[in-house]
Amino acid sequence: MAVSAAADRPILDPARARPFPEAALPVLRDPQLRKNVAHAIDVIQGKRARLVAEKADWQALRASASRIKDVALQNLGAYLEEFEARCTAAGGVVHWAADASEARRIILDVLRAEKATEVIKIKTMTSAEIELNPFLEAAGIRAHETDLAEIILQLGEGEPSHIVVPALHVNRSQVREIFARRMGIEDLPDDPEALTAAARRVLRAKFLSVPTAISGANFLIAETGSVVVVESEGNGRMCLTLPRTLITLAGIEKVLPRFRDLEVMLQVLARSATGERMNPYTSLWTGVTAGDGPERFHVVLLDNGRSGILARERERQTLRCIRCAACMNACPVYRQTGGHAYGSVYPGPIGAILTPQLQGLRHAQSLPYASSLCGACYEVCPVKINIPEVLIDLRAQVTDQERQRARRFFDPLYLGLRVAHLVFARAWLFHAAQCLGRVGLRPFTRKDGWIHALPGVGAKWTETRDLRGLPQQTFHAWWAERAKGAK
């Protein structure tokens, strides 16, 4: 099976991943994978559409959600300091990590102080962003994922392809194969119920015995210093209540000003993410509480490129993201390519804008082009991130960056664009070019007025679609003739 072959393992490190068009090819050639992705997306999309339609105030909720995030981002420094003060007062320890390596080191230091040899984890894309698991593994600490999808990927040595349903590209018989092999269960049927029960049995023992846990955060509440985790399975509640020590890793953009802001966020998140009115479990906790839950609680606030995004006026909206994945479910490109092609733990339209920015545009420059700019992502986004607008702006930045590289001067594309600039800026040159084009294209234009095949570079167009032949008269010429005739 492809999932286990290391050579085929998708690369989600933007620094090493191949450009999007290349990385997308294996999926486009794998009908099973495309079927799995399309099925999952159709189910979520249908549920989401039904539940959003029943909400008469959906647009008002979106407007509030996006503005709440805007105010939080606009005043991020003040709200983070407030969160830190409240969380500390409630018995939590707040750490600040400027980048991924610092976050990893802080977490390792805490785990070493706890003498931990293993740790249980709630699904957190932020930990995948900082590549925490392989780092802990190298330091001799075994990280056990506890979300069902994450277990499938961890045991199957696969990579997440979606931020809410990370294993949506794996079907039931593939899951059966992974579980049977890695859990050593011989006669495991392939119905999801039996597979889920198998995971429940295996994990229960871990929950009750491993004394340290790592979580992400959906929201941080400045007003109270609380952390909120949204989940479905209950593995989150297990990790948040049973261990002695809990470490939460959260991007600095997760902070909300006040407790009551959740009345908006919780209404839009589950509907957008899984097409439910509410997800089964949402947990909020504040520091440590005697007799209930962990005795020690650490929060690691991660920057890792986020303050750079904050500084750019048009791109700042990227940080509103609440990781619901509605954009990838709606995206016609994602539907065809699945998530691995994006070469990042954040795939889909939000990944196409978030990943290159988190990388300071040093990597993942092909991602802003991984879109048809149809705008479906913007329409479904519960916090109204205008993803096409950011994509276009990033394309401009990528282009500016490329233009500054000397070797780009003789690149055919840039050469062509410079010539075009020259021609379009001068009417006489433009008219001459039109004449030349008419004459030049005539041999390729068929009787039906269409060009079906072009040689050379032109074939890139005609391989996949026809081109209408140039009309024998320009509008200008026609207009001039008509005026003459009227006289």
């Binding site: 294993a167 297990m238 009551r260």
Partner: protein, 262 residues
């Protein structure tokens, strides 16, 4: 932590440079926040009966078992639910009324039970802080009658007692109650005594935000394998709810429903 202080200053400085438009004072910040648009629905439109009906309907959509009863029928209804479950050993938080602990079953009260002891129980019985009809959500603030978080997590069967007066229609109405900015509605209806004497007090202090909250919408579930919804991954597989009609239904208009806060 080592190096933490410098990174803290560095990150805050970067943020400060990135946000020249940040509010200059706490008052200005409060003003920014106060100007946020909130045109969404906050106060529910259903009357009390319809609101409870919706709550029950939503819970059943989540495959939760729901029964309704009058306040005086509660102990009997609990006993019947326990018997029908086919289970014998139960845990309960220390704050639940004694009459909830039906005779003929093994009860362990959570005065600091270990996780293994709770795990060994077949079911748990608790009160709740609030019910949100719109999404069929039960909210726990983990007071003495709602139990520690782990208590409603490890047993496979959860029986939750919800008073009709605790049911609000919208999520914003819950947040209004949680912030203690308004009465729970009970005082107006004059049913507070009834509520506290036989039904357990949620023990919530008004004007203070909760330290621990769990929002529960149906039994634990996953759809990670081919988007097929499977009940009960790690949390309780079975959620039973008894809705106690503790206020005279049909006599209250929307006016006595919890209004949202401003």
């Amino acid at each position: 932590m080592n190096g933490g202080a410098s990174s803290r200053e560095q990150i805050l400085e970067r943020i400060q440079r990135a946000t020249p438009g940040a509010a200059a004072s706490a008052a200005a910040l409060a003003e920014d926040y106060g100007a946020l648009p909130r045109a969404y629905v906050r106060a529910g439109r259903l009357d009390a009966d319809a609101c409870v009906e919706l709550m029950v309907h939503r819970l059943r959509e989540y495959d939760a078992e729901v029964v309704e009863c009058a306040a005086e029928e509660l102990p009997g209804t609990i006993a019947a639910q326990l018997a029908a479950s086919g289970r014998r050993s139960f845990v309960a938080p220390p704050g639940v009324p004694a009459e909830w602990l039906a005779a003929g079953f093994d009860w362990r009260i959570d005065h600091g039970l270990t996780a293994a002891e709770i795990e060994a129980a077949e079911g748990v019985v608790t009160a709740a802080f609030c019910g949100v009809a719109d999404s069929g959500t039960i909210v726990l603030h983990h007071s003495a009658s709602e139990g520690r978080r782990v208590l409603t997590l490890l047993p496979d069967w959860h029986l939750c007692i919800l008073r009709a007066s605790q049911v609000v229609e919208t999520l914003p109405e819950y947040f209004g109650r949680a912030a203690g900015n308004q009465g729970s509605g009970d005082e107006k209806a004059g049913t507070r005594d009834l509520g506290t004497e036989g039904l357990g007090n949620c023990g919530h202090e008004t004007g203070r935000l909760p330290r621990l909250v769990t929002w529960i919408s149906g039994p634990s579930a996953t759809a990670d394998i081919e988007m097929t919804r499977i009940k009960g991954v790690h949390g309780p597989r079975f959620l039973h709810v008894i809705v106690v009609k503790d206020r005279k239904l049909g006599t209250q208009g929307p006016a006595t429903q919890g209004l949202s806060v401003q």
